[in-house]
Each structure stands twice: as structure tokens, then as C-alpha cells.
């Protein structure tokens, strides 16, 4: 007797479409807006100013600051969580497109609420701890992973002034706190008391600490070019126009960009480097024994990391939030002397956040494309790529950059020449790529692109 | 010597941080050739060897020339370049630095050494390229090392460095004379040079020790009694308590100079001005004020040390600017020439007075010092008793003869005496002996030169004789003229030696003048340069030798203060003059004799050649390589030494070596590297005369005298004689040269005259004695060597019979005891030993449990120890 599937609805009720659309646009925008609003406001100096303006006793300063810290932390955690949810949806949609299928399309418009549905499902599942597992460690491991992920948001910039703390060791901080993720993975692999999980954990750790080296060294390239470790400082050393980005300003930086991007993919366990959770070999790697909420936490981190890695690469190489033709100093000047900044300042901050988000999301999309395009590599290939190619390349780039900076100090013109040259090449490649895509789509679907199955 | 009418002040030092480069380049060259030379040679890059060596020399010369230019731009009284690298060692208050200094005298020496050294290196490229010893690199390494040592000797700022260089040149000369060490005779010649030099060095060292012994007394006296102008420093008497050099330096006594000691023209140079306000003129005008305590001395010292950051031990003449008021000289132990000179020369220190008064066993200390130092000079500069090594040293390759035995090493003695002029000038006796020995050597060596047939031997004795002249110069006190003769001699003797080298090369390694003759046809350049050098040495007024020699002899004649045995001997000056004139005549004679025998008449070579060379070891070594004499003209096996060495040079060598095997090859002119050097040297031999045109001609002091006067400050009195008389004496000098020339002309021109042979027959006895160098070598053999050998044989016999017997007897007794002992050992001791062993084993077995191999146990132990220490620290107050 055939199972009775309910047929897909012919048309969604208008209300649902509207609500879905509103939510789909609203949830990310809500959080981005909150980020925009709260990060500058919750600075200690601003809090002080607000308190004194409101005539509140200065002894409330400390509690207010602590409260602000908590609010910001909550905000950032939730931003990461929401974004990773949205991107799971986006990934599944893109996968569907690439595999010529539809993808999730039931929950909400275009299946947007699938991630909420997933979350609900996960929360409702039983929280299993295997019988022989080390319960404490098994339970603790996901939190390490989440902590390592969440701590990066402390320094990730969103816009001109939109950053929780602009640590002067920002980049260094990012690379170091992500180490916690490795610890969590290792512990989870061990505590599961399962071969698959252990192999997955060991593989993940080996992979991550190996790829930390090319990543760390290639990060030196923008650091050397900017002369600072601060994320905002690095962005401010770049400019809004493509030839002012680090990636084009220096031939070695172009290579370092690819090295860093590849290494970050591997560190985030993204395909083609998703060996620790290779289904065909290890069931689900270190995740094998996890279920329910803890599993959800791992997945949250996994997809949230896409944002993190894209944001890091954007910051270091792609000019960050820099708006073309508007200098950061100009925006600084708009702030005014008041406790709260002027409206124009807010406006430009919003624009800068839009620029940063656009660049980052474009990179996230690239990451997803890569996942559904490339096959998984073998362990020896993965290690060989790291130690034989990326590490030497990263070192070569670093050394080249040192000489390049010397040359720049003599002849500043070469940065511009390199920038414009590489920009032109990049534009030409992008145009060729777009034409090729267009031709491919035409070959399959003709002139009309069908969006009906959304 | 009319200068220095005022009291002398301390030397003003100019710092020149690059001076160390001058000796560095030859050292590097030597190192490179020692380390890589044989590889260059083996890998066919033989020319790299001489590129390195000559390059090093050229760089060295250029650096020296730079220093010269710098010195020229300084005012005369400030011409003292100094460069301290680092402290070598300190012993008590004596600090010895690795420091270089150049005053006008050593500047002149350095220029000679580097310039002529470079030329000789260049010459050697042509001369040694195909040498039989197959050790091109070794030759150049030695040569460079020699130049390095010589530069160290000349530029060293203190006695230690000078002595280092002094021994270094001895070593290098040994290595170079015994260059063909496969030949026993030549190796023996090297050894002889070395041993004879040791005798001299012994004298040198003895002189130094005596000097410092005497100075020690002087220093101690100046410390404890204090002269009229000496200021007692409070800490002086507890010198032993001063732990290090810097601390003891602060305690060093200083002597302030009286005001009149200041030549007012000396401005205070920037960077050297000591805090003059400390020494208010009013305070120091009266000598009584000098008894004031030394507060102002120490700040001055600090100022100086802080300002130029040199090793503090050398900031002695601390107030260098305006050294009248408040200028100070540290009095105390030093090995530094400049400091010693300051202490001795500046009257206020009282050192000179004290030295003059000291006597050893009834002999004036300074005379002994001077004589002992002169013994050292004798060895190095081949003076009368110790000259014997020099003629034998001709065993080395000709460039060596030129470099070592003409231009540089042999002048070390002269240089040393001139350097220490302030010591010698204090003792007329020492000067008298120096002059006397110099005179005797000049005459003696000249007479030996009369009958030598070996061209290099002639030159060697001529060198000895000329060195005698130099010692006359420095002996009678006309130091600049001695140095001037050194300079001119360096040029013309190097030219002569290299000319003879060219001749020897041209005549296929023939050195016997009887087998030469008529070479002017074949070797025009060599001939002309040789002739010019002959003119120079013979004292014809168109060449430099005349001026230096006449100045020396004139001053010798006018000197009146010389003494022997402590008593004034005013007759000594004129006597020296007459002997010197005789020697000059002889010089002229034998030099022109060698010229005529070599270059005029018909070529007598090519007969019996092969036979002689068959006996010549290095010829026989070379012979197999040149079995086919005709094959070398076109297909020469060796690579091109230098592009410009050219076909001519090759051709010449082809012929030269072909000559060993076959007969009848004609002599040939040498390659350009050789002739160029000859021409330059000959030009120098002429042009040097400009430096020494006598005051009687020009009305002012000779250029060189002006140049050297800051360095040669010793005051020696001379009798004033009218200029007219000087002209007469110059004419006499020219006449002496002319007489020698005429005799040589008559007897040896074109080698036609039968008179020489007849004279030889007639005075065969005299001839034999002179020809055999007065049997001096045999005398040495009899007096020194045989007794030594006999003594050593006697000792050997004593050792073999008496000592051995004693030893054997002791052995037998010991064996007896040992037998008894062995019995006791076997029965008593072994038991004890076994017991000990058992105890040890058991103890070890027990103690082994302590070593658990567990880190924790050890940790507990370590912690227990640490805590125990802390507790003890609390418990024991």
C-alpha cells in the first residue's frame, strides 16, 4: 500500500508568503540593525555619557557596563546562531539548484523556515549520552566548540564603528580563540568512546592544527602591509575601491588570499576538507554519537564558521567595510561631539555595514558553491596540500611582502600599478565567468530563467 | 736640528679609525692564499693567487696613502694618527691595546713598505710565475704575511705590537729565505737567519727589560718623592689595592705642565678640549701650586675618556688642547710609545733626569739600554757581528731579497732606533756605539763587496754597508737623515735587487757575474735602471743617494757630543766621516764593478751552463719538465698568468727554461711586470732627491726633515760650520763616488782589462781573505758553533754516563725496594684493597636503591634540598 504523501500545495496563501517574507527579511535585518545600533552605543564612554545625561548616579556605571556587556554578548551569539541557520537554508537551496532539484520549500516561503524547523526538531530529540562514554566530557565538548566560535565575534568588525572591541591584537586573537574549537572536537571525539568519533576527532585536530600554520603565516601578509594587528586598523589601511584592497595591491597578497581562504576552509571542516565527518568513512566523525541539542550546537558552529571565515578574509584582503569614494576619516569627522553620534554618521555606518555584509555573503556563497562542486580529498592529499604547497607558499608570500613593502617605501607607485592591473584582470575574469554561466543556463533552460519552483 | 728650542709638550693625537685596514689587507691576502691558494693553483686559477696578493697590497697602499693625505692636512704638531681597536690585556696599570699609530716617521715607513711592497709583489708575478718550487701561493702568502708583520712592527702603538711584528718579520724572512726548502743549503740559510736574529732579539728584549726596569725606578721615584712639579695623588700609595685598570688609572699621578711649555699657537681642537676651567691659569702659574691635590686631575681624565671613548688607559695626555695651562701627562707604567715619549720628553715629569742618573754595575743604564737595543737592531739590520745571515739570505728568491733585505725588514733596526730617539738621545755613549758600529760595518761590508762574483752577494754586502750608513745617521743624532737614507736606499736598493733579479731571470738563473757581460744589448731597460740605481748608491748628485749620504756624513763630521765608555770623544765624528767617505768610495767602486761586469763587454754566458745547472738542485728539478726546449715557444703548458703578461713574457720563459737543458741561448729582456717595476723604482731613486735637498742649497730645511720633525724630537747638539764648508764636503762626497767609478771603469769596463786578474795574483792573500768574507763565517764556526757543539757533546756524554748511571743506580735500588714492597703488597695491601672493593660493591649495591629511575623521587630530593637551604637561610643569621 503506497504511502499517502500529501501533494505539495499548488499555491501558498498570501498571508503566509507575506509573513514569511517579512520574517525572512526581518530576522537578519533585525539583528544586523541591532548590531548597528548597539555596538557603538554600548561603548563604555557612551554609556558613561548616557548615564550622566540621564542624571543617573555614577555608581551605576559598573552595573550598566556589565549589563551592556551581556546584551552585546547575547546579541552577537544570536547573530551567529541566526546566521548559521539562514545559511543552512541557503546552502540547501544552492545544493538543490546545483543538483537540479528543488531543495527545501515547505516551511515558509522557499522553505526559509526550515532552519527553525530543524532547530525545533533538534531540541525535541532525546539528549543521548552513550553508556560507556565519559559523560562529563561528552556533555562539555559542544560548549568548548561554541565558545571558540562565539569568542571570535568579539573582534569581527561589521562596519565603520560596529565592532564589539577593536583589540589591538585582533587578528592574532581570532586565530588563537579558534583553537578552542579544536579542543572541543578532540574531547568530543574522545569522550564518545567510539572508534568513528575518535578517528574523526583526531583527524579534525590534525587537520586544524596543520592548516593553522599556512593560515597564520598568510595572515602576516596583510599584517605586514597594514603594520597593525587590529582588525579595524587593517581595514583602515585599505580603501573602498578594488585596487585599494590588499588582495590586489601586492602580488603576494593575491596568493596569500587563496592560501588563507583554502586554509580557513580546512579549519572550518568545509568540503573539500570535511574529512573529520566524512560520512562514507566515519559515519559522521566526531559527531557520530551526538544527538539533539548538542548535535545542533556542533552544526551551528559549523555553519556559523562560514561567516567567520568569510568575514576574516573580507577584513584582511577585501577592504572590509570601506565604502568607495568615502574615506574612513570623513566618517570619523561626522560623529560630532555629542554623546550620541550624528545622524549622518549612523547613515554612513549603515552603508559600511551593508558593504561589509555584501562582501562577506558573496564569499559565503562561494564557500557553498565550492562544497557542491569539489569532491572530498583524501587524508594524504589534504596533508600534502598543506605541508607541501600551502606552507611554503605562505612563507614565500610573507618574505615577498617584506621586500614588496621595502619597494613600496621607495616607489609608492607600484602598489597602485599592481592594484589596477590585478583589478582589471579580476574584472575580466568575472565578466568571462558571468558569460559562461549565462551560456550554460541558456543551454539548459533557454532564454527564460524559471523561478517558479521557489 | 735647530727645532725644539722650546720645551716639548705631549703628542696631540688625531683619531683615524681606519688605520687597522692597512695591515689587515695583507693579512687577509695571506689568509686567503694560505687557505685557498693551493686550490686556486690546482684548479688552474693560478692567477687568482697574485691577484689576491697584489690586490691586498694595493689596497693597503691606498689606505696608507689616504692616511698620508689626512696627515698632510693636519698642522705639523698634530700629525699623529691613532686607532685603538681593543684591549689586548691589562696587567696592573699597564694596558696593552691592539692599537695602531702613525706619526710622520712611521707614515714614511708605511708608505715605503706598502708602495715598494706592492711593486715587489708585482715584480714577483713575473719572476715567480714559473718557479720550480711549484708553490706560487706559498710564496705570495709568505710575502703578504711578511708585509703584515712589517706593518705591525711599524704601526704598532706599543712595544708589544712592535715586538710581535719584529718576531713576525723574522719568521717570515725565515720562511722566505728557506723558500726552496728542499735544498739543504737554502734551508740552512733560512735557519741561519733565524738563529742570528734570535741573538739580536735577545739583545732587543734585554734592552727593553732594562729600559723598563729603569723606568720602573723612575716611575716609583716620581710617585713617592715627587718632582718639583709633581702632584701627589692621595690614592697613589695604595696602588696594590686598585682592583682594575680603570680604578688604578684614576689613581695615576699626573704631571701638570708649566705654562711656558705651551706653544701658544696650538688652538684647542674640538672634541679634545679637556675641561680647561678646572685648570685655572692663575692656579698653575706658580710651581708651588702644583702640590694641590688632584681633584682637577681626575675630572680632566674623565672628560677625556668620555669624549673619545678610547680605552681609558690611554687617555694620558688628557688635556690635549692648550697643553700649557692644565695640560697633564700621566706618569706611570706604560708600554705605549707615545706615552713613554711624553713622559721622557716632557721635562716636568723628571723621568728623563732619573733615567740619566741610573747606573747598573757602574755603567750608565741608558748606555746599556741603548747598546742592548742596538744589539737587537744589529740582528735585524745586519750590523757588524750579526750581519752574517744577510749574505746567506740571498738563497731566497730575488723579490724576497729585494723586499726583505733591501726595502723593509733590515731597516727595522734603523726604524727602531729612530723611533726610540728620545731614549738614545739621552745617552751619548749609546749613540757613539751605534755610530761606531755603523761605520765599521759600512767599511767592512764595502770591502767584502769588492771581490764578490755573485751579483746578489755584491748587493747583499752593499746592503749591509748602506745599513751601516743609516746607523751612522741615527747614531750621530741626525735621525731624519738616517730615515732619509732608509728611504732612498729602499728605492735604489730595491731597484738594484730587482734589476739583478731581472738579470738572473734573463740569464737563465745565472748569478755569477763572470758568466754575464754585455747584457746592455739584450736588456736595455734593466741596464738603464740598474745604472741609475748605481748612480744613486754611489752618490752622484743627480740621484737621491747623494743627498742622504752627504747629509749623514756632514752631520757626522759636525757632531761633537758622541761618547764611548761614558767619556766624550769629540774625535769620533770626524773619524766616522773619514771612514764613511772611504766606504762611499768603496761602494761606488764595487757597484760600478758589478755594473760593468754585468752589462758591458761581451756576453760570456752559455758555456758550461748545463753542467753548472746540473748541480743546481732546483734546476734539476725543473729540467724534466723542459726536456724539449723547443716545444715551449708556442705550446706553453702553463695558463696565461695575466693578459698583459703577454707573449713576450712567455717567450722569454720558454727560452729561459729551455736554457737549462740546452746551450747558447741569448739573454732576454724581462716581462713588463718586471721592467715596469724597475722603471718606477729607478724614477723613485732619482725623484727622492727632491725630498732632501740640503739646506745649504735651498735655504730652508729639507722637506723630509720638516716632515719628520714632529716625530724626531730628540735634541742633539751639532757644531755650527759654515755653508761653504758644507759645499766642500759635498764635493768631497762626489769625488769619492767618482774615484770609485773611475777605478771600476778602468778595471772592469767591457771586461777587457787584465789588471784585475793581475792584482788578484799579486795580492792573492788579501784577495782570498776578503773574498772569503774575512773568514767571519769560519770564525763564527770556530768561536760559536764548535764550542756549542762541543759543549753539547760534553753534556751528552755527561748525560749518557753520569746521569744515566745515577738513574740506573736509583733504578736498582728501587727494584730492591719494590721487591720488598711487592711482598708486602701481595700479602697485606691486597687484603685491604679487596676489603675496600667489597665495601664499595656492597655500598654501591645499597646506594643503588637511591637511584630509582623515577623522576618523582629525585624531585623530592631536590625539593628537600631547596627547602633545607631556605630554612638554613632563616636559621643562620
Amino acid at each position: 500500500m503506497p504511502v499517502n504523501y500529501s501533494p505539495p500545495p499548488k499555491s501558498t496563501p498570501k498571508v503566509i508568503v507575506a509573513v514569511t517574507l517579512a520574517a525572512a527579511a526581518g530576522i537578519p535585518f533585525l539583528f544586523l540593525g541591532l548590531v548597528l545600533l548597539l555596538t557603538p552605543v554600548l561603548k563604555p564612554a557612551t554609556i558613561d555619557g548616557l548615564l550622566s545625561n540621564a542624571g543617573i548616579d555614577p555608581s551605576w556605571r559598573t552595573p550598566a557596563y556589565v549589563a551592556a556587556l551581556f546584551v552585546l554578548a547575547l546579541l552577537m551569539m544570536n547573530y551567529g546562531a541566526i546566521f548559521s541557520g539562514v545559511i543552512t537554508w541557503w546552502e540547501r537551496r544552492v545544493a538543490g539548484r546545483i543538483q537540479s532539484r528543488i531543495g527545501p520549500n515547505r516551511a515558509g516561503f522557499g522553505g526559509f523556515f526550515i532552519f527553525i524547523a530543524d532547530a525545533v526538531k533538534m531540541l525535541l530529540k532525546e539528549d543521548l549520552v552513550p553508556a560507556d562514554a565519559d559523560a562529563l566530557l561528552f556533555r562539555a565538548a559542544p560548549y568548548f566548540v561554541v565558545t571558540g566560535f562565539a569568542l571570535t565575534f568579539v573582534v569581527l568588525p561589521f562596519g565603520h564603528s560596529l565592532v564589539v572591541t577593536d583589540l589591538n591584537v585582533g587578528v592574532f586573537y581570532v586565530t588563537s580563540v579558534t583553537a578552542l574549537v579544536v579542543v572541543g572536537i578532540l574531547i568530543s571525539g574522545w569522550a564518545s568512546n567510539s572508534k568513528w568519533a575518535l578517528f574523526g576527532g583526531v583527524r579534525a585536530a590534525a587537520q586544524v592544527i596543520s592548516y593553522e600554520i599556512p593560515a597564520g603565516v598568510s595572515i602576516f601578509v596583510p599584517i605586514a602591509m597594514a603594520g597593525t594587528l587590529s582588525m579595524q586598523g587593517i581595514i583602515r589601511a585599505q580603501g573602498g575601491l578594488p585596487w585599494e584592497w590588499f588582495v590586489f595591491r601586492n602580488p603576494a597578497a593575491l596568493i596569500a588570499f587563496f592560501v588563507l581562504f583554502t586554509s580557513q576552509l580546512a579549519e572550518a571542516n568545509r568540503t573539500p576538507f570535511d574529512l573529520p565527518e566524512a560520512e562514507s568513512e566515519l559515519v559522521a566523525g566526531y559527531l557520530s554519537e551526538y544527538s539533539g541539542f548538542r548535535f545542533a550546537l556542533f552544526f551551528l558552529v559549523e555553519w556559523g564558521n562560514i561567516w567567520v571565515l568569510s568575514a576574516i578574509v573580507t577584513t584582511l584582503f577585501l577592504g572590509g567595510w570601506q565604502i568607495p569614494f568615502v574615506s574612513a576619516e570623513y566618517i570619523d569627522g561626522l560623529r560630532g561631539a555629542g554623546v550620541l553620534p550624528s545622524l549622518a554618521w549612523w547613515g554612513w555606518n549603515a552603508v559600511s555595514m551593508a558593504v561589509f555584509t555584501a562582501k562577506t555573503i558573496a564569499l559565503c556563497n562561494l564557500v557553498i558553491w565550492l562544497r557542491w562542486t569539489l569532491p572530498r580529498v583524501r587524508v594524504d592529499q589534504m596533508m600534502g596540500l598543506c605541508w607541501k604547497y600551502l606552507v611554503p607558499a605562505a612563507f614565500a608570500c610573507f618574505v615577498f611582502t617584506l621586500f614588496w613593502e621595502l619597494a613600496v617605501s621607495v616607489a609608492p607607485r607600484i602598489e597602485l600599478v599592481s592594484g589596477v592591473g590585478f583589478t582589471v584582470i579580476a574584472v575580466v575574469l568575472a565578466v568571462l565567468f558571468a558569460r559562461r554561466v549565462h551560456q550554460n543556463i541558456q543551454a539548459v533552460q533557454g532564454e527564460k530563467i524559471d523561478l517558479s519552483n521557489w | 736640528m735647530e727645532h725644539a728650542s722650546h720645551a716639548l709638550g705631549p703628542v696631540l693625537v688625531e683619531h683615524a679609525s681606519y688605520l687597522w685596514l692597512v695591515p689587515l689587507f695583507p693579512l687577509l691576502g695571506a689568509l686567503v692564499n694560505v687557505l685557498f691558494g693551493w686550490r686556486f693553483e690546482r684548479s688552474g686559477k693560478k692567477s687568482l693567487v697574485h691577484v689576491v696578493a697584489v690586490g691586498a697590497m694595493a689596497l693597503s697602499f691606498l689606505t696608507a696613502a689616504y692616511a698620508f693625505v689626512q696627515m698632510l692636512h693636519l698642522p705639523a704638531e698634530r700629525r699623529f694618527l691613532q686607532n685603538t681597536l681593543w684591549n689586548l690585556f691589562s696587567a696592573g696599570r699597564v694596558t696593552v691595546d691592539l692599537a695602531f699609530a702613525l706619526d710622520p716617521l712611521s707614515m714614511m715607513m708605511v708608505l715605503i713598505i706598502t708602495f715598494i711592497g706592492t711593486l715587489i709583489h708585482l715584480f714577483s708575478v713575473g719572476y715567480m710565475w714559473e718557479d720550480e718550487a711549484k708553490a706560487y701561493w706559498r710564496f705570495f702568502a709568505w710575502l703578504n704575511l711578511f708585509v703584515f708583520s712589517m706593518l705591525l712592527l711599524v704601526m704598532g702603538d706599543n712595544f708589544v705590537l712592535m715586538f710581535f711584528g719584529w718576531e713576525g718579520v723574522g719568521l717570515c724572512s725565515y720562511g722566505l729565505i728557506a723558500f726552496y726548502y728542499t735544498d739543504r743549503e737554502k734551508a740552512a740559510a733560512g735557519m741561519k737567519a733565524f738563529v742570528v736574529n734570535r741573538f739580536g732579539d735577545f739583545g732587543f728584549l734585554a734592552g727593553l727589560f732594562l729600559l723598563f726596569w729603569g723606568l720602573g725606578g723612575a716611575w716609583a721615584a716620581s710617585c713617592h718623592t715627587g718632582g718639583p712639579s709633581y702632584q701627589a695623588t692621595p690614592g697613589m700609595h695604595s696602588l696594590a689595592g686598585a682592583s682594575d685598570a680603570a680604578a688604578s688609572l684614576a689613581l695615576a699621578p699626573r704631571v701638570s705642565l708649566r705654562e711656558h711649555a705651551a706653544p701658544a699657537k696650538h688652538g684647542a681642537p674640538a672634541g679634545h678640549a679637556a675641561p680647561a676651567e678646572h685648570a685655572a691659569p692663575a692656579e698653575h702659574a706658580a710651581p708651588a701650586e702644583h702640590a694641590a691635590p688632584a681633584e682637577h686631575a681626575v675630572p680632566a681624565e674623565h672628560g677625556a675618556a668620555a669624549e673619545h671613548g678610547t680605552a681609558p688607559g690611554h687617555a694620558t695626555a688628557s688635556a690635549k688642547g692648550e697643553h700649557g695651562v692644565g695640560a697633564q701627562v700621566m706618569v706611570g707604567p706604560t708600554l705605549n710609545f707615545r706615552e713613554l715619549r711624553d713622559q721622557v720628553v716632557i721635562e716636568e715629569t723628571g723621568i728623563a733626569e732619573h733615567l740619566k742618573d741610573q747606573r747598573v754595575w757602574g755603567v750608565a743604564l741608558l748606555a746599556l739600554v741603548g747598546i742592548f737595543l742596538f744589539v737587537g737592531a744589529m740582528g735585524k739590520s745586519a750590523q757588524l757581528p750579526l750581519y752574517v745571515w744577510l749574505p746567506d739570505a740571498m738563497a731566497g728568491p730575488t723579490p724576497v731579497s729585494a723586499l726583505i733585505h733591501a726595502a723593509t725588514m733590515v731597516t727595522a733596526g734603523v726604524y727602531m732606533v729612530a723611533r726610540l730617539n728620545f731614549i738614545f738621545a739621552l745617552s751619548p755613549s749609546a749613540m757613539g756605539w751605534v755610530a761606531l758600529i755603523g761605520t765599521l760595518t759600512a767599511v767592512f761590508a764595502a770591502s767584502i763587496g769588492f771581490f764578490q762574483y755573485d751579483i746578489k752577494k755584491v748587493l747583499a754586502y752593499s746592503t749591509v754597508s748602506q745599513l751601516g750608513f743609516m746607523f751612522i745617521g741615527v747614531g750621530v743624532g741626525v735621525y731624519w737623515a738616517g730615515a732619509y737614507h732608509l728611504l732612498t736606499h729602499a728605492f735604489f736598493k730595491a731597484c738594484l735587487f730587482l734589476g739583478s733579479g731581472s738579470v738572473i731571470l734573463g740569464c737563465h738563473h745565472e748569478q755569477d757575474m763572470r758568466k754575464m757581460g754585455g747584457l746592455k744589448k739584450y736588456m736595455p731597460i734593466t741596464r738603464w735602471t740598474y745604472l741609475i740605481a748605481c748612480w744613486a748608491i754611489a752618490g752622484f748628485p743627480w740621484a737621491a743617494g747623494f743627498y742622504s749620504k752627504d747629509e749623514i756624513l756632514w752631520k757626522a763630521f759636525t757632531s761633537e757630543h758622541l761618547a764611548l765608555f761614558g767619556t766624550a770623544t769629540p774625535w769620533l765624528g770626524p773619524a766616522i766621516y773619514i771612514a764613511g767617505l772611504l766606504a762611499a768610495t768603496g761602494t761606488s767602486f764595487y757597484m760600478f764593478r758589478s755594473y760593468f761586469m754585468t752589462f758591458t763587454g761581451e756576453y760570456r754566458g752559455g758555456q758550461g751552463h748545463g753542467h753548472e745547472h746540473g748541480e743546481d738542485p732546483h734546476a734539476s728539478v725543473a729540467a724534466p719538465h723542459h726536456a724539449d726546449p723547443h716545444g715551449h715557444h708556442d705550446a706553453h703548458p702553463a695558463p696565461d698568468p695575466a693578459p698583459a703578461h703577454g707573449a713576450h713574457g712567455h717567450d722569454a720563459h720558454g727560452q729561459a727554461h729551455g736554457g737549462h737543458g740546452g746551450h747558447g741561448h741569448t739573454p732576454h729582456e724581462s716581462p713588463w711586470t718586471i721592467t715596469l717595476v724597475l722603471v718606477v723604482l729607478a724614477a723613485g731613486a732619482v725623484l727622492c732627491s727632491l725630498l732632501g735637498l740640503p739646506a745649504a742649497w735651498t735655504g730652508h730645511e729639507p722637506l723630509l726633515e720638516q716632515w719628520l720633525s714632529p716625530a724626531l724630537t730628540a735634541e742633539v747638539p751639532f757644531v755650527h760650520k759654515p755653508h761653504a764648508l758644507e759645499f766642500v764636503f759635498q764635493a768631497l762626497g762626489v769625488g769619492a763616488g767618482a774615484i770609485g767609478f773611475v777605478f771600476a771603469w778602468v778595471l772592469y769596463k767591457d771586461n777587457k782589462s787584465k789588471v784585475p786578474a793581475a792584482l788578484k795574483e799579486k795580492f792573492l792573500g788579501v784577495w782570498t781573505v776578503v773574498y772569503n768574507k774575512y773568514y767571519v763565517d769560519e770564525l763564527y764556526d770556530l768561536v760559536v758553533i764548535r764550542p756549542s757543539l762541543a759543549w753539547s757533546r760534553a753534556l751528552s756524554w755527561f748525560d749518557g754516563h753520569i746521569i744515566d748511571w745515577l738513574v740506573n743506580f736509583a733504578g736498582s735500588v728501587a727494584r730492591g725496594f719494590a721487591g720488598i714492597d711487592g711482598w708486602i703488597d701481595k700479602h697485606f695491601v691486597d687484603g685491604a684493597v679487596n676489603a675496600v672493593a667489597t665495601l664499595t660493591i656492597e655500598g654501591g649495591r645499597t646506594l643503588r636503591r637511591v637511584q630509582t629511575g623515577r623522576i618523582q623521587t629525585y624531585l623530592y630530593g631536590a625539593l628537600a634540598g631547596g627547602l633545607a637551604v631556605i630554612l638554613l637561610n632563616f636559621l643562620i643569621p
Binding site: - | 643503588r848 630509582t852 629511575g853 623515577r854 623522576i855 618523582q856 624531585l859 623530592y860 625539593l863
Partner: protein
């Protein structure tokens, strides 16, 4: 005394050091011993940085702490490699078993 000052950090360093010492002294597991060493080094580092901050100023103490961190990393790498080698030889990493040199 209550506001955080030099002594507070020194006490923390001392406690870290002592606990590290305890670990080194009592652990049988070689890896545990290594962890104890890390604690000891951290205790020393806290003192370095605290003295740097409160006594000397400048960055010398931090530089030394960095050297210690570098050397600790090196020590950990070599130590763990040795532990692996010991494990391959003795099939255990109990430090009490690795005493074949004892007799």
C-alpha cells in the same frame, strides 16, 4: 591589600607552581607529569609578567614570558614525542615502569 596588586598575582603564581610541583611529584602518568611541568612554567610566567607590570615596567618580563612559552611548547613537543617512544617500548606510559636503567 584588597585591591588587586602585585602580591595577589604572586600568590596565584605560587599556587600554580606548587600545584604543578604536586602534579609532577605524584603523577604516574607521564603525560600528567608533563602537564605539571606546564603548570610550573605558567606559575613562573605569572610572576614574570606581574613583576614586569608592578616593579620594572617596560616589556622585558613579557619577553621572558614569551621565551618561556616558546620553550614550553618545544618542551611539550619533545616530551610528548618521548612519551610516544616510551609507549612504543613499554606499552605503557607509567613513569614507574620506565626504569630499566635502575638495575
Amino acid at each position: 591589600m584588597l585591591h588587586v596588586g602585585l602580591q595577589h598575582f604572586l600568590v596565584v603564581g605560587a599556587l600554580l607552581f606548587s600545584l604543578g610541583l604536586l602534579t609532577v611529584a605524584t603523577r604516574r602518568n607521564a603525560i600528567g607529569v608533563l602537564m605539571g611541568v606546564e603548570l610550573i612554567l605558567n606559575g613562573a610566567n605569572v610572576n614574570f609578567v606581574a613583576f614586569n607590570h608592578y616593579v620594572t615596567g617596560g616589556v622585558s618580563g613579557q619577553v621572558f614570558a614569551l621565551f618561556v612559552i616558546v620553550l614550553a611548547a618545544a618542551e611539550a613537543a619533545v616530551g610528548l614525542a618521548i612519551v610516544l617512544a616510551i609507549f612504543q617500548t613499554f606499552r605503557s606510559i607509567d613513569v614507574r615502569l620506565a626504569d630499566t636503567m635502575r638495575e
